[in-house]
Amino acid sequence: MSKHSKQYQRADEPIFWGLFGAGGVVAAFATPALILITGLLVPLGVLQLDYASVNAFASNWFGKLILIAVIAFPMWHACHRIYHAMHDLKVDVARGFFKVFWYGMAFVVTIAAGAYLIAI
């Protein structure tokens, strides 16, 4: 086979790395405050997240964009890291399956969040 007949395939890593990076930014800047609010301040009664206000926020396109960004991007970030951490932990079985599994999970979460937001 001559050198020139080799077919090169574009790597998919830049796409996943881009989503990982976007998720890393969201998880660094927004997620700590969100965990503090929904996980601690609201359950402990310091702040309120009443249905009417949140529903109104999720009803306009600006709110929808914020909500999908804080749900979907960190999920891509987490799934990318977990997939690669499996290799770090020397769990190297069925790489192809786990690639589809982890990135597929992030994809499903993205589609689900988008569908819910459209439904509001």
Binding site: G23, G24, V25, A27, A28, F29, A30, T31, P32, A33, L34, I35, L36, I37, T38, G39, L40, L41, V42, P43, L44, L47, Q48, L49, D50, Y51, A52, S53, V54, N55, A56, F57, A58, G63, L67, V70, I71, A72, P74, M75, H77, A78, C79, H80, R81, I82, H84, A85, D88, L89, K90, V91, V109, A112, A113, Y116, L117, A119, I120
Partner: protein, 133 residues
């Protein structure tokens, strides 16, 4: 078929415990488990929001369970650790120049911390003032 039998240095799955730098690296990667689980909790809340007021209040009720409180305390610490590592890596990921000189790391990191404080105050402020409506 190649007949060579290269020496592969044996490596246990706990390799990262032998060196502090590698342990902190794995700790950083581990924060992603909490980031992912929190995304799922938010998705669960969004599903409840779509279902209606009763389901929404049900979701808020679940989050009052001590198990979730403990989870969120750990998730908050994990997420803050992720943020610290992310900010310290930022100047290495972006190449900012002033004239011929590369900008030093420190101002880039400081700007990230300032932006973090501003973002956190805005997010908490919007919820506190009910500005979401």
């Amino acid at each position: 078929m190649s007949k060579r039998k290269p020496y592969v240095k044996p490596m246990t799955a706990s390799w990262f415990l032998n060196n502090r730098f590698h342990t902190l690296y794995m700790l950083r990667e581990g924060t992603s488990v909490f980031v992912g689980l929190y995304s799922l909790i938010l998705l669960w809340g969004l599903a409840a929001l779509v279902k209606g007021e009763a389901a929404w209040n049900g979701w808020l009720g679940h989050l009052q369970n001590p198990v979730y409180i403990v989870f969120h305390v750990i998730a908050l610490v994990a997420c803050l650790y992720h943020a610290i590592t992310w900010f310290s890596l930022a100047p290495k990921a972006m190449h900012l120049q002033k004239g011929d000189q590369k900008l030093t790391d420190k101002p880039v990191v400081i700007v990230h911390y300032v932006a973090f404080v501003v973002a956190s105050v805005v997010i908490i402020g919007v919820v506190a003032l009910g500005g979401a409506a």
